[in-house]
């Protein structure tokens, strides 16, 4: 009986007789064993074996398992087993820990792919623009489709597009019959980038072109779909991209003319995954 404590024994006996409950430092225990910290030490409860302190309750409410001076409400130092946990398929708060073992919730929106624009299987371009080109001067659509998005973390951003082109004729609107290869294309360009970006406004993210040639009175004038799919790692910031159609003819007689955006299957889909 080291640490013999008369107060402890007296209150123990007292509560034993009166309530059949044990109080330590309290005359009115509200549990089988009710411990009220005296406040003279930093701990309300310790459980030790002969080698180390296994379990600790500090006066500030922190509980340590094999951690004598817990720095969190629950602080452990080894493996944890939580058997019998339920299973869900929808919770978006993932429990993560830092290098010191501190747990925190991380939203799945910062972990898995997110839709930034489109990805809905519907027509992305409702306007129509018609372009012509002759004599080696390409011609581009102007603000046919622009998408602006903001990313809050460095992300791998995937761009996917297809732009329908039809009514392919000569620059004057007659049938194209000169047998010269001309070009119809669609490119994705930077419309706005955050200050300090390594990309420049009007720079090309991705471009695609189809060679078109005809020398017969009857030919298929549409639809053709220049398309692209590319991924960029982008720092946080607000970006704007423009999907631009273009036509290009080298000759100065028939040239080329085509209409962009007429198809119901134009697409511009942007998805992003935060870089881990």
């Amino acid at each position: 009986m080291r640490n013999f404590n008369w107060y402890f024994i007296i209150s123990m006996i007292n509560s034993c007789f009166l309530y059949s409950q044990i109080g330590i430092n309290t005359a009115h225990p509200s549990a089988m064993l009710d411990v009220v910290s005296s406040g003279n030490t930093t701990k309300a409860l310790r459980i030790n074996n002969s080698n180390f302190e296994m379990f600790t309750i500090s006066n500030n409410g922190n509980v340590g398992i094999n951690v004598p001076n817990p720095t969190a409400q629950l602080h452990t130092s080894g493996n944890i087993r939580l058997s019998g946990l339920g299973i869900n398929t929808i919770n978006t708060g993932v429990i993560t820990n830092d290098l010191s073992g501190n747990f925190a919730i991380r939203s799945t929106s910062t972990l898995v792919p997110q839709i930034i624009a489109g990805a809905n299987g519907t027509d992305a371009v409702s306007a129509i623009q018609t372009l012509s080109s002759t004599s080696g001067i390409p011609s581009y659509t102007n603000n046919l489709l622009t998408r602006t998005f903001t990313i809050t973390q460095t992300s791998m951003v995937n761009f996917s597009y297809q732009l329908g082109i039809d009514n392919i004729v000569s620059s004057s609107g007659t049938n194209l019959t000169d047998g010269a290869s001309k070009q119809i294309g669609a490119r994705l360009t930077w419309k706005a980038v955050p200050s300090g970006s390594s990309f420049t406004v009007n720079g090309i993210l991705y471009t695609d072109a189809v060679a078109f040639m005809n020398s017969s009175p009857n030919y298929i004038k549409g639809f053709y779909y220049p398309k692209g799919n590319c991924s960029f790692v982008l720092p946080p910031g607000t970006y704007s991209v423009e999907l631009k159609g273009y036509v290009y003819a080298y000759d100065n007689v028939q040239g080329i003319r085509a209409t962009f955006g007429n198809s119901p299957y134009d697409r511009l889909d942007i998805t992003a995954i935060p870089v881990q």
Partner: protein
């Protein structure tokens, strides 16, 4: 009264003889052994308090609270949790998640990360061949060349990716003298073959498409293989979907027309992957 006296005697007895303390037990099996009297959430086996608040609670039903005097789960905390020294894994497929009020459950990584539904194996996706022809501005389509079905248990971002080889491009009669100089069209459509009830899409509607113009006036020309490809992501609600990869040819002239074969090469691809929408 005599019962309580017995309890006290046991307490003192065990204290002196075995250096073990039993509360409500005559035969403690730990240095401190507390046997609760009740079995429900309203009564407590143990509480540890500071001068001002209840720090630690063990209810008679086994629930443990840290900073929670009436814990509603086996372990109920209200503040930070630090687990130092956790092991690392590269293979566990369940992550811990918490709902809005802190209930912790597990979620399978298959409901969080991209999953392969179809293909994504680098193998030939189209093992049959179909030859179709068109003339006089009437397009012709392959029929059932490649149909794939998949079921989403949750709303997901589904990415479709395909590449379909087209070869033996010639006149509609099979003539190899494809020399009329008319721009004809070879293409592919990815279309909805079947949809869940209430879908905003319609059967035979196009998901994504691609086409090439093809014209020739030389006696020797390359008649194949060309690959029509595309890739697009679509957010889809839960349900069972079926999609068809369809080749097509279209010629406006009514003289030579066009004919082509789809699927005969060994590099056709059709891949579907999906990530649960979060």
């Amino acid at each position: 009264m005599s019962k309580k006296l017995t309890a006290l005697i046991f307490f003192i007895y065990s204290n002196f003889i075995f250096s073990q303390v039993g509360i409500n037990t005559a035969t403690p099996s730990a240095a401190l052994d507390i046997v609760s009297k009740g079995s429900n959430y309203a009564t407590k086996a143990l509480e540890v308090n500071s001068a001002s608040q209840e720090l630690f609670t063990v209810l008679d039903n086994g629930n443990v609270g840290i900073g929670v005097s009436n814990p509603s789960t086996q372990l109920h905390t209200t503040g930070t949790v630090r687990m130092q020294g956790l092991g690392n894994t590269a293979s566990n497929t369940k992550v811990l998640t918490a709902d809005a009020i802190g209930n912790v459950t597990t979620r399978s990584t298959s409901t969080l990360l991209p999953q392969v539904f179809i293909g994504a194996n680098g193998l030939d996706a189209v093992t049959t061949t179909q030859t179709i022809s068109s003339i006089n501005n009437i397009p012709t389509y392959t029929t059932g060349l490649l149909v794939k079905s998949f079921t989403l248990s949750q709303a997901s971002i589904v990415t479709f990716s395909y590449s379909l080889g087209v070869m033996d491009v010639m006149g509609s009669s099979g003539s190899s003298t494809f020399i009329d100089g008319a721009a004809k069209q070879i293409g592919t459509n990815l279309i909805w073959k079947s949809l869940p009830n209430g879908s905003s899409f319609s059967t035979n509607g196009i998901i994504c498409t691609s086409a090439l113009p093809f014209s020739n006036i030389g006696s020797n020309y390359v008649s194949g293989t060309f690959y029509l490809s595309n890739s697009c992501p679509i957010l889809l609600p839960a349900g069972t979907y079926s999609v068809e990869l369809q080749g097509f040819v279209n010629a406006s002239d009514n003289n030579l027309g066009i004919r082509a074969s789809f699927g005969s090469n060994s590099n056709d691809r059709f891949d579907i992957t999906a990530t649960t929408a979060q």
